[in-house]
Each structure stands twice: as C-alpha cells, then as structure tokens.
C-alpha cells in the first residue's frame, strides 16, 4: 500500500487490514516456506525476528483472542483435565488447551507450529514454565533470553552487557540456524529506525489523553492503540501508517471536543478521569468497559499499555546500536520495573494526566502484576492524595468475573470521588 493510499484510510480500516494480512500470512506460512517463532509480548524482539523473515506469534495474544471469542473457558477446562492446577496462570492454560484442541486461530484455520520458541524472559516468571510446556508439545528448538529485573530501579552496564552477550552468542546464532541465513545488521538498523518512528507517533497518541476531555481511552481503547507496537508490526511501514492515521483522528477529536471513543459513540463530556493499573479482563472486556464509560469515566493512562515498552519515558529503538537498544527495551518494560518504580510511575501519570484517581484491576492469574498491588495502591494514595479503588477478576477465565461485585465496588468508588469533590 502506498503512503497516499494509507493516508486516505481510517486507523480502524488499517488495523483490520493488518490483522487479516497477518493471519493470512501465518496460515500460509508452511506452504510458502516461512518460519514461525513463538515468543512473548513483554521484551519482544520483533525487529530481530522480522530481519530473519520470521513470523512472530504471541501466545498471550492467542489467549486474549480466545477469551474475546468466548472460547477460553473450554480451553482452560481442557488444560485442567490435562493436569493443570486451578491456581495458575489462565493465559498458560488457555494456550495449552488451544494447542490440545487443534491450535485453531481467529481465522478458523490452525496456526502453524513453531520452528523456534524464543523465550524472552522479561518481567514474568511464568513465561519459562509456559514455554517448557510448549516445548513438550512441539518438536522444535527453544532459546532463552534472560532479562535481568530492575530490582534497584536502574539498568546497569553489567545488565546490558549480559543481555547483549546472550543475543550475540546464543539467540542470534540459533536464529541464523533456524532461518538458514546470516544476521543482517543493515536490515535490523532499518527496522529499528522504522520502529522508532512508530514509537514517536505512539507516544503522541498516548499523551493526547492529557487533553480535557481526553480524545482516547488509555486502557480499554488503549488495546487498539497498542496493537501494532506490541505485536508483529513494530519496525514496519504499516505500523507507522497506522499511528499516523490514528494521530490524525485524535487531532480531530481534540479539535471537536468529542471526548473518547466508546462502543456507543463519543463520550463527550467526561466526569471522571482515571489511571488504571493492571491487565484487563478479556472474557468480559466490553462489559467492563461499559461499566466505566456509562458512568462517564475515561481512563487517561494505564500500566497495561506500557507492558510492551515504556516509550513515553523516552525509550526508542536505536538503529545505531540495535542490540544494546533491544537490551534496554526488554529491561524497561513495565512488568520489569521494581515496585517503587511502579508507584512512582502511576503517581506521575495521575499528576501529568490530571486524573481524579487510580483503579487497580487485580487479576487472579498474574502474580507479576498482582503480588503487591494492595500495597502499591496504598502508596499511590499516600503520594498523590487521590482516591484509589480496587476491583478483581481474571485474565481469561470467565469463572472469576462477577459483574455485581465489580459494579458495587465501582459505584462506591465514584461516590467517594463525588463526596470528596463536594467537600473540597
């Protein structure tokens, strides 16, 4: 598609096109001799994979899509019958259940099995066990990229050198072997350069939520905003086109004071501006979104839209030193931040985005996010003085979603904000 053609299309059309093309390419991968790499969203090495002409597949996204289609419950049941505990991550169980049920993707056709499992071990300990399961299901090589955690809130040279060492000595050589071609630094540089362009645009989209009313919803609507940059498209022209289109639309929304986009049209006037911490619930995604926007609550910033990279803090893929920038990118993802950094970041969003409060959506399945969230809530409240609320459900297991419970919590929370406003 030419740049002119892209300019005439809406972000929604472009997104649909990208999505359709991706799954078509994936389903034709075997016939066309393309290699497929399964990997994770946080700390993904998309530019590196694309430089080898690999097609990346993200199992978390498979699980999300299964949940949105209402299929996750059956997949989770399948995995539990297979021996998985009810206590553990439902992304894993949904994914394993999907594999055991034929690995059918959103297009209704089976997804190709992986030629390589790239275990980007960033910000979540479950990833390792998850890929050990996949390794047992598929006969293909697996490679680990261990990404150190920012325990002290900093990225040291030793940490960078550890990650680049793994990339140079372990990850890239195995990719070369699987792809049957040599590492091409020029191509990686080009992809990183294109990624940085998309990242600039993406940040402008996110930061547009500082406007009152906010032209976007930075959590529920944010899922559409993050789609290309967290997915297989970072580093491509298509991602840049998408963000250019989105930014144009956001500009119009700001000019016309339309407020954020909702499932039922423009929100217009907004009553509550919120920051949300935590992963969305995917089985009742639309229902939960409605509970917010029907109360005129818009999410102006969220931690979830930073799990695939903290670009708004300044990080960009650097074409001049791509491997080091991959290392810094991986270590900078939200779930790789220490708890004090998370408190600081959320407090900053509350100030910068003029939010009325923080809602923590805690999910049963995800210890990386959830362990410590009650404490995090107390600390943000202490730091900012805004009211903070707490709701709970799960990622993709519908059994843990209670409409009445969440509704009651949200109603009480909004009443608390109203009372505070009344009494200054």
């Amino acid at each position: 598609m030419s740049e002119d053609q892209a300019r005439t299309r809406s972000s929604k059309e472009l997104r649909k096109q990208m999505f359709d093309d991706y799954f078509q390419q994936l389903c034709a991968a075997r016939e066309e001799g393309k290699k497929v790499v399964y990997t994770f969203v946080p700390g993904n090495l998309t530019e590196l994979m694309l430089s080898f002409d690999f097609i990346p597949v993200y199992p978390e996204i498979n699980a999300i899509q299964s949940a949105l289609r209402g299929e996750s419950k059956a997949y989770i049941n399948r995995a539990e019958i297979h021996g998985h505990s009810e206590d553990v991550c439902t992304y894993v169980k949904c994914d394993v259940g999907m594999m055991l049920s034929g690995n059918i993707g959103p297009s209704g056709k089976p997804l190709p099995p992986p030629d390589l499992l790239l275990l980007s071990y960033t910000g979540c300990f479950t990833f390792m066990k998850w890929f050990e399961h996949l390794k047992a299901l598929y006969d293909c090589p697996m490679v680990m990229l261990h990404v150190p955690y920012q325990g002290d809130g900093v990225i040291t040279e030793a940490m960078v050198s550890y990650v680049t060492g793994q990339l140079e000595e372990v990850v890239i050589p195995l990719m070369e072997k699987v792809a049957g071609k040599k590492y091409d630094p020029d191509r990686v540089r080009d992809l990183c350069s294109m990624a940085a362009k998309a990242e600039d645009l993406f940040v402008s989209c996110l930061e547009a939520a500082r406007n009152v009313p906010s032209p976007i919803d930075g959590y529920f609507g944010g899922v559409f905003e993050i789609f290309p940059i967290f997915n297989a498209f970072r580093g491509t022209r298509a991602a840049v086109d998408y963000y250019e289109a989105l930014l144009r639309e956001i500009g119009l929304r700001i000019d016309q004071k339309l407020g954020s986009f909702t499932l039922e049209g423009n929100m217009g006037e907004e009553k509550y501006r919120l920051v949300v911490e935590g992963t969305p619930n995917w089985t009742h995604f639309w229902e939960l979104w409605k509970m917010f926007y029907r109360r005129k609550a818009v999410v102006v910033a969220s931690s979830y839209t930073r799990v695939g990279g903290l670009y708004d803090l300044g990080f960009r893929h650097d074409p001049e030193s791509p491997l080091e920038s991959f290392a810094r990118y991986c270590m900078g993802c939200y779930t790789n931040l220490s708890l004090p950094q998370r408190v600081e970041l959320l407090s900053r969003y509350i100030r910068d985005y003029r939010a009325d409060g923080l809602i923590v959506h805690s999910v049963k399945s995800c210890n990386s996010f959830s362990a410590g969230q009650l404490f995090l809530l107390q600390e943000v409240e202490k730091k900012t003085g805004v009211p903070c609320g707490f709701i709970e459900s799960d990622l993709v297991d519908p059994r843990y979603f209670s409409h009445a419970h969440i509704k009651n919590r949200l109603d009480a929370y909004f009443q608390m904000i109203d009372e505070q406003r009344k009494h200054g």
Binding site: H82, G83, H84, S85, D87, V88, C89, V92, L119, Y121, C124, F125, T126, M128, K129, W130, E132, H133, A136, M142, M144, H146, P148, Y149, G151, D152, T156, A158, M159, S161, Y162, G165, Q166, E169, V170, S338, L339, P340, Q341, R342, V343, S362, K364, N367, S368, S370, A371, G372, Q373, L374, F375, E379, E392
Partner: protein
C-alpha cells in the same frame, strides 16, 4: 543425647521471635545479620563478613497474621504474608539487609515492597542468571556477587575479605557434607531418623551459624549410627516434590509418614543442599561460587534447564532413592511448583511410577484429608501394586 539436641532444635525452629538469632546478635553486636528468602542465596558472602545469614522461609503456623493479609489478595501464596507480619512485629529488627533471590514474581515484588516498608534495611534482589555460559551468565553473576558483598560489608571485596570467603566456603562445604550424610542416612534408615527430627536438623541450618549447626548434625548422626533401636514399619518409600519454598507444617510431614509413606527424598529448603558437589576451596572464591551455581546446582522449578528434561531427572531421582512413588506437595498458588507439575506427572506416567498430589499452606492445621490421601496412596502401592 539426641533428645537434648532435638528439643533444642525444635525450640529454635518453632520460635516465631527467632530467639536463637537474637542471641547470636547479642553475642556479636557489630556483626552484620542478613536475611535471605527462598530458595538459594550464596550465604557464604555473609559468613565471610563475620555475619549471620538467616533463611526466612516463612513464619509457619505459629505466626498469627494480623497485618500481612492487608498486603496480599487471597490468591497469593501465604509465605509473603507471614514474612511481612514478622517484619511488622519487629522480628527482623537489627538485620542489616535482606536478599530476595529470583525464584518467582511474588518474592520479586516483595523486594520492592521491602524497600518502601523498611527503608532502614537494604533490600537486594538477586538475579540468578538463567544463562549458564561462564563468559555470559557467569560474568553477570560475578558482578551480582560483588554488588551483594559490597552491600553486606559496606565496601567492595578486598583481599582480606576474599580470604575469609575461602574459609566460609570450607565451612559451608562441611555443613553440606553433614546434611548430605543426614539425607543419605535417612534414605537408608527412614525409621531411625523420623521426619520431624530430619526436618528440624535441616531447618535449623537456616537460623544457626554453620560453625554451630554442622556439629549438631554430626553429633546427631554419630549418636544415631551408634544405634537407635527402631524397627522399620511396613511403609512405602516416596519422593516429596514441590516444597522448596513455603514449607509444609511439620505436622503434615508427620501425617504423611504416619499414613504409611516414608519420605526418602525431598526438595524441602532446596537451596541448602542444592549443590551436587562441594564448592572449590582453592583459587578465587568468587569464581568458586559462580562455578558452583553454574555447574553444580541441581534441578529446580525456577532454573532454566535448556534441553535437559526435568521429568527424566525426577524419574532418575526416584530410582536412585529406591522410591516407589511420588507425592506432589506444593503450596497453594505457588506458580513454579504447580506449573511444572503436569510435565513431571507425564514423565512419571511414562515411567510407570505412581504419584498423587495435594496442596498445602504453611499455616494449615487440618491434615485429615491428606492423611486419607497418603494412606490410600500407600495402600495402593503395598496392596494393589500401584493401582489407583
């Protein structure tokens, strides 16, 4: 003789106020005391600084949770609640710092909470490398050890410290040797070293200095070997898997044995005996610790094993221990243990090794269900040749 030792060890292990540690602190007022969370930390670094490393494997059933639940949702394991509870009650007052090894997201996030909750102590996350190449993971781990030593002693390691680190390695090698001897003894004569005695001997290693603890284990062993007149019961032999972090109550372990299962191998307090051979006692001691972690540590749910099959390793362990079955016992909501369970079970099925599974919490006190489960398992092995 052993009764005296055991009474004392039981008191030490079951004291929620860590009286033995406080006594040591009174006797060594200037020495650093450093807590470490499960499952493995290079505690030699603390001993080399003249200090005491204290393994904090949760508070068990004796710590009443008043504050801890306010920090954690119901779907998080129990260990961090009791650790925070103990900290809030001042049990760790006077500790210089805490080490949080990289074994799961809960302990990882607790490291950050600690920084904000207890700013007078340093809290250090220890990233155990998942790359085992000496030039990559080894180099990184060495940097981690230097960073940690600097926190512990307040200055970068110098020649004098490295010399004392060599001595600390000799000390922990001797302690591990004694503990391995204890494990081997129990494997051969489980009826002569009951599970609670074995457990207290292990657990006290978390609280006592090795110079004191090793002697106790050695004395226990020599007294036992001299001859305790105990007759073996008609129990089956099992391997216990999954209890490497939050610990099962001792009552639960005793229940399993009373129900007819001798636990002849286990991963209880895994880090204490994780090394499969002694650390090198000569040369650069930091390199010895690096080499020990990279090359001499056994399997663990939080360790990347590459192409090695953990299921096969478990099967080998079962055969080596002459065990007849496996009991999967993991704490509720323990991701590392519960996530790998299906893979291990698959390997056991292929090898036709019977197994059963349950979950526990460190503060659980109802064992009836587990007694029935372990009893049925034992019966199935003894009477029906493993048919469940």
């Amino acid at each position: 003789m052993t009764e005296g030792i055991l009474d004392s060890l039981r008191d030490i292990c079951e004291d929620p106020a860590l009286g033995a540690v406080r006594l040591w602190m009174e006797q060594h007022p200037a020495a650093p005391v450093v807590g470490y969370l499960p499952a493995y930390a290079p505690r030699e670094l603390v001993y080399a600084a003249g200090g005491l490393a204290v393994g904090v494997w949760g508070g068990g059933a004796r710590v009443e949770i008043i504050h801890g639940d306010a920090y954690y949702q119901s779907y998080i394991c129990h260990l961090p609640r009791s650790v925070i509870e103990m900290a809030k009650k001042g049990v760790f007052e006077g500790f210089k710092g805490f080490v949080f090894p990289s074994i799961c997201d809960v302990i990882r996030n607790l490291s950050g909470m600690w920084k904000l909750l207890f700013p007078r102590q340093w809290a250090s996350y220890l990233d155990l490398p998942q790359n085992f190449d000496p030039g990559i993971g080894g180099k990184f781990y060495r940097e981690e050890l230097i960073r940690l030593s600097t926190l512990i002693r307040g200055a970068e390691p110098d020649e004098d410290y490295l010399e004392r680190l060599r001595e600390a390695i000799i000390l922990t090698n001797r302690q591990r040797k004694a503990l391995l001897r204890l494990q081997r003894f129990r494997r051969s004569f489980p009826h002569k070293a009951p599970i609670d005695e074995y457990y207290y001997l292990l657990r006290s290693a978390l609280l006592l200095h090795p110079s004191e603890h090793t002697g106790l284990v050695e004395r226990y062993l020599s007294a036992e070997i001299e001859g305790r007149d105990a007759k073996p019961l008609d129990n089956v032999r099992v391997v216990l898997v999954g209890a490497f972090c939050e610990q099962p109550p001792v009552g639960l372990l005793k229940t399993i044995e009373r129900a007819g299962c001798y636990i002849v191998n286990d991963d209880l307090m895994l880090g204490l005996c994780w090394l499969t051979s002694p650390l090198r006692e000569e040369g650069d001691p930091l390199e010895s610790l690096v080499e020990g972690y990279l090359e001499k540590t056994g399997m663990a749910p939080f360790k990347y094993q590459g192409d090695k099959d953990r299921g096969e390793e478990l099967v080998r362990l079962v055969h080596e221990s002459k065990a007849e079955g496996v009991l999967f016992a993991a704490p509720s909501f323990c991701d590392p243990a519960l996530l790998e369970r299906p893979m291990l079970q698959e390997a056991l099925k292929k090898a036709k090794i019977p197994f059963t599974s349950f979950k526990y919490s460190e503060n659980g006190c109802q064992y009836q269900g587990i007694r029935e489960m372990a009893g049925t398992f034992s019966d199935s092995l003894r009477l029906w040749d493993g048919e469940l």
